[in-house]
């Protein structure tokens, strides 16, 4: 048990230590796009920075965080030590080495391909190998989650798997399946070009394969936040979970529906007809269901806690909730961020409306609001929840932690809302510099400067976060460490429907659905050879 605490702690530290520089890079990028003057005002620097910020924030940081959280959940929910701990360290090692390997060439300006790879752009071999190592490292984790899940199940036949463990296993399975898209793209398409073996790349196929990963990765990031919603928050609020079954249905729906929706990222792409785009649009609407279920269940759980604490009347229970508890506060703020974020998402996923915001700043603002806002604020809260348990020291202090969450909330709103507006005015994304002397662009100047103010608040929030982590790490050790406590359901049952206690059937359904929705869109490239774009690796010529 002691060693597995160290394992989780190592993952979380590694995640947050790469989060820190990436946050500074993001700040610089915001300023670069604004009318303000910044050092190194060079589009080349911007694209290198964007690649680093995105690669860290999208791949390295969440993956390491989720792995660490997953190990903590496994040990604490199953009440026994982790099976295959040395393999877990191996996975950690792969992720860290891969992360460094990917970042070094970006720093040298050799892999400014943006974090979504964007063929026919081709960067250094080391960048792709680094990303591949991170994925391989995470596959160790996927395997370990599933091994521990099934080992416990076979040792405890008929007993319901604890909700948090069930959910993190769904998360692992989801990642295991969805990462295959980007992995195939990197291994079979990009690496051959990057190694100089091929000089053209089927950009259409590459984009389609990437879309298999691109949207489901969002749910991979999201599920840990939802785990905190369902299992940690009701306990911290002094109440109970409204429904355990609702949680299981939510996580199963995420597993089944998150992959066959990825083509809504390709609505404006010419390599697909309208038919499959429409099918993916419909399926994307279905994936909004688990979020609606969650909002209902979590608000109901909050209400239960509020009423237990003496809240009366229609809304009186809101006041009596313990908002000084970081976990409760974070959930409240996260739900508030989820509302505008989800609303924006509905626009993005609508086949027709997507055209309006395609490739504008709206999209960037949207995913910062929903991932950086609603999800990462929960990562902070989870860290505050885990830190005292993993370090055997108290959290110093809850007040600073709450201040940090409030700063993050306001910073994210102030940064992303004007950013959305600039997108609606037509500001393109992936642009390094804007000519603010142009009257059409000048109209966006005040919006962009407001975003910079939001960014500064976020950066301050990050510093407060690290202050709390360091203070808590070096606080006076506690005599007894309280274990992580998970919420009980209002009506905990001794049994659970067998379909909601395992994944075999849902895996079959997921594979069938993926085959139906992606079979033709991917298969077509093997008989329509019209998407090959020239691409060349320059790193190879230098090596020669």
């Amino acid at each position: 048990m002691e060693r597995s605490r160290l394992l989780s702690l190592a993952h979380l530290w590694a995640a947050f230590l790469c989060f820190l520089p990436a946050a500074f890079l993001g700040m610089w990028q915001l300023m670069m796009r604004s009318p303000l003057r910044v050092p190194l005002d060079d589009p080349n620097a911007y694209y290198a920075s964007l690649t680093a910020h995105g690669s860290i924030m999208a791949y390295v940081f969440p993956t390491l965080f989720i792995m660490g959280f997953g190990y903590a959940i496994t040990v604490s929910t199953l009440g026994r030590s982790l099976r295959g701990e040395s393999w877990a360290w191996m996975g950690f090692f792969f992720c860290v080495v891969g992360g460094v390997m990917a970042l070094v060439p970006i720093g040298f300006g050799r892999s400014s391909v943006l974090y979504t790879f964007y063929p026919p752009l081709v960067g250094s071999v080391w960048y792709y190998l680094g990303v591949a190592l991170v994925i391989i490292g995470s596959y160790f984790w996927v395997a370990l989650m599933l091994i521990n899940f099934s080992a416990w199940k076979s040792d405890n036949p008929g007993k319901p798997v604890p909700l948090a463990m069930f959910a993190i296993s769904a998360c692992a399975l989801l990642w295991g399946w969805t990462a295959l898209g980007a992995t195939c793209e990197v291994v079979f398409q990009i690496l051959p070009v990057s190694l100089g073996l091929r000089h053209t790349i089927d950009a259409g196929l590459a984009r389609t394969l990437f879309s298999v990963t691109l949207h489901a990765i969002v749910y991979f990031w999201l599920i840990p936040a939802y785990i905190a919603f369902y299992t940690l928050m009701p306990q911290a609020a002094g109440g109970r979970l409204y429904s355990d079954t609702m949680g299981r249905i939510t996580f199963v729906l995420f597993l089944v529906f998150s992959i066959p929706v990825g083509m809504h990222h390709l609505f404006m792409d010419p390599e697909h007809g309208s038919g499959f785009k429409f099918v993916h649009s419909v399926l994307t609407f279905i994936v909004a269901l688990p979020t609606l279920l969650t909002v209902f269940t979590i608000v109901a759980s909050l209400e239960i806690a509020g009423r237990v604490r003496g809240g009366k009347g229609l809304l009186g229970w809101i006041r009596t909730l313990p908002w000084g508890e970081p976990m409760v506060l974070a959930v409240g703020l996260s739900l508030l961020l989820l509302a505008p974020g989800g609303f924006g998402g509905l626009i993005n996923m609508s086949y027709g409306m997507n055209a309006m915001i395609h490739n504008t700043s709206w999209v960037t603002a949207h995913f910062h609001l929903i991932f950086g806002g609603a999800v990462v604020i929960m990562y902070f809260a989870i860290a505050y929840e885990l830190w005292p348990r993993l370090n055997a020291r108290p959290l110093v202090s809850k007040r600073a932690a709450c201040l940090q969450l409030w700063l993050w909330f306001w910073g994210m709103l102030i940064m992303t809302l004007p950013w959305h507006a600039a997108g609606l005015m037509g500001q393109p994304r992936r642009y390094a510099i804007f000519d603010y002397s142009d009257p059409a662009v000048a109209k966006m100047a005040s919006l962009d400067i407001t975003s910079v103010v939001g960014g500064l608040i976020l950066l301050f929030s990050v510093l407060v976060f690290f202050y709390v982590l360091f203070r808590s790490t070096f606080a006076r050790p506690e005599e007894s460490v309280s274990p992580i406590r998970y919420a009980l359901a209002v009506n905990p049952s001794a049994t659970v429907h067998p379909l909601l206690n395992g994944f075999v059937f849902w895996n079959v359904l997921l594979l069938a659905l993926t085959l139906i929705s992606y079979g033709y869109p991917i298969g077509q490239f093997f008989f329509l050879h019209n998407q090959d774009a020239p691409a060349r690796s320059l790193s190879q010529e230098v090596l020669r």
Partner: protein, 277 residues
């Protein structure tokens, strides 16, 4: 059947039924209803509609208006085979052919401004494409057309490999090493054109294709190139006497530049400007 098995069975049935319903809705609307109700002409049957929705368009209606003959800017298409050939030259063999080139393309030290392009260090794909364009007549020059027609594409690649191995023009390393003052904040209007372009006039930044940093495939590095040659090429693109730029990018941009800007750009590049100054 035990009660547990029964509930598993009915649960599975329910899930599959709901999923089938959702899919029927998605596929029905996406492949049958919507294509036929969006005013696309010529969708008579269900199979036409499905064909359309898959993106496999059929153009049944033949054009009855007279189309102008297509003007082809270059016969070089960057296919896998062409790229393999253009990249696979032998510098040794190229060196023996290059003996014929040095009559005009002399070492830069001897000619401050000759109007002749400097070839040492030129990117392989650039050399290959320009030679092929001279051969096909999409780029015009009496001398160079004769030279190119006397060589084979294999020899273009050999020459390309040889020139690429020489020191001269900056090597295309695909690096985007960051510098400063490469944005609209740069006070120098010529440097601004190079690094930021002039979107108000619809002019893209030179550096976005010609580096340093990103290089478009087939676009040459301009730093250290001959000033007179650069200026002449910009003029030729502007007047349309040179037209082997795919998608008219250079004809469009050069047409928007003033003669003074062309001269200034040519001169700043020829002086070895790399943006760090």
């Amino acid at each position: 059947m035990s009660p547990e098995n029964g509930s598993v069975h009915s649960g599975r049935l329910l899930a599959v039924t709901i999923l089938a319903g959702i899919l029927a809705l998605g596929f029905g609307f996406g492949f049958l209803v919507l294509p036929r109700n969006q005013g696309t002409p010529g969708l008579a049957s269900a199979s036409d509609s499905i064909y359309q929705a898959l993106g496999l368009h059929t153009h049944n209606n033949s054009f009855n208006t007279v189309q102008p003959p297509a003007k082809i800017p270059s016969y070089v298409a960057w296919t896998e085979a062409t790229m393999q050939q253009a990249m696979g030259g032998d510098a040794k063999r190229g060196e023996s052919i290059a003996g014929n080139c040095t009559g005009c393309h002399v070492e830069p030290a001897h000619t401050a401004e000759s109007g002749m392009p400097r070839l040492a260090g030129l990117d392989r794909l650039v050399t290959y494409k320009q030679l092929d364009d001279y051969r096909s007549g999409t780029r015009l020059s009496d001398t160079m057309s004769a030279v190119a027609q006397s060589l084979t594409p294999k020899q273009y690649a050999d020459l390309a490999a040889y020139f690429a191995s020489q020191k001269g023009l900056p090597e295309n390393r695909g690096e985007r090493a960051p510098g400063s003052h490469r944005s609209y904040h740069n006070a120098d209007p010529v440097q601004r054109l190079i690094y930021a372009g002039d979107p108000k006039r619809g002019i893209a930044a030179c550096a976005s294709c010609h580096g340093p940093g990103g290089y478009l495939i087939g676009a040459p590095a301009l730093i250290n190139q001959d000033a007179l040659y650069l200026e002449q090429q910009l003029l030729a693109f502007a007047q349309g006497t040179r037209s082997n730029d795919i998608n008219m990018s250079m004809r469009t941009i050069a047409g928007l530049l003033t003669p003074a800007e062309m001269k200034a750009l040519a001169s700043i590049y020829a002086k070895g400007f790399d943006g760090s100054k």
